[in-house]
């Protein structure tokens, strides 16, 4: 179970979205894009490490296995 303050943050942000229709989207987009850019950058670094390509291949296999078993 997450700390109660996490839900408090969810509620605060949801109210911000509701009450600030011209402001939320830009902040939200910046946040979402940053997650994917950061993840992409980390994956690129892993690929360039010794044995990185093999690690990426194993990660891909795990992804396929997980997807197929759902």
């Amino acid at each position: 179970m997450r700390d109660a303050t996490h839900m408090e943050h969810v509620v605060r942000w949801a109210r911000f979205v509701k009450e600030n229709p011209t402001k939320w989207k830009a902040q939200h987009t910046e946040f979402i894009n940053a997650i994917y850019e950061k993840a992409g950058s980390a994956l690129d670094k892993i690929t360039q490490m010794p044995g990185g390509k093999e690690k990426m291949r194993k990660l891909r296999e795990l992804r396929i296995k997980a997807a197929s078993s759902r």
């Binding site: 949801a14 509701k18 229709p21 989207k25 987009t29 979402i32 994917y36 997807a67």
Partner: protein, 197 residues
């Protein structure tokens, strides 16, 4: 004006002053591109986490859930071919026949385009509940993206009644606040979920 209708009209008003196209996120663009291809072949709905994210919830996701009407093999091969032609690939298999057999077995399949992008998790509608959701699909102007969603009330109901993880309950809370969701409709959706799931 209260309830669902009022909420959506309110959302529309918000959208009128909100949405320069450059504000769309990686997820928004990815979802719109995929759905614009699917729409040519079959009715679909976006459900679950991305409904909340598109409506402003600040969290990551690895996949966007899509339910499509069940297709026979011939029609599915055309859809799959269009996705492949547009640089999507299916994680489970390159063979349209094989992907179709997964879907017919009520398994989900995942389409991706590049490593750093999310996945589209696709399922066939498998029962009355899924088909009801597709029939009642909506667009949500607040999101700024032109795709079909399952209703807000059904998404809240699923998350509160069926999925129930911390993440899902937070998504439901977000949707409740942003859309002033109709409690009576949520309860009716929960009854349907208890009946069919």
């Amino acid at each position: 004006m209260g309830g669902k209708q009022g909420s959506y009209l309110n959302a529309f008003r918000l959208n009128q002053v909100m949405e320069p196209v450059e504000d769309r996120s990686i997820l928004d663009k990815f979802c719109m591109e995929f759905c614009s291809l699917v729409e040519k072949h079959v009715k679909y709905i976006i459900v679950s986490g991305f409904v909340a994210i598109a409506a402003g919830r600040k969290r990551a996701t690895e996949d966007i859930d899509v339910i499509i009407e069940s297709l026979d093999k011939e029609k599915f091969i055309r859809l799959h071919g269009e996705l492949i032609k547009n640089h999507f690939s299916c994680i489970q298999s390159d063979s349209a026949n094989e992907v179709h057999s997964y879907l017919k077995d009520n398994l989900s399949v995942r389409y991706v385009r590049e490593n750093n992008e999310p996945e589209m998790e696709v399922k066939f509608a498998k029962d009355v509940l899924d088909n009801l959701q597709i029939q009642g699909r909506i667009k949500i102007p607040l999101t700024g993206i032109d795709v079909w969603f399952g209703s807000i009330e059904m998404n809240i109901a699923y998350k509160e009644e069926y999925l129930k993880s911390d993440k899902d309950l937070e998504d439901a809370k977000h949707l409740r606040i942003v859309f002033d969701a109709n409690e009576e409709k949520i309860n009716k959706c929960k009854e349907l979920i208890r009946k069919y799931r």
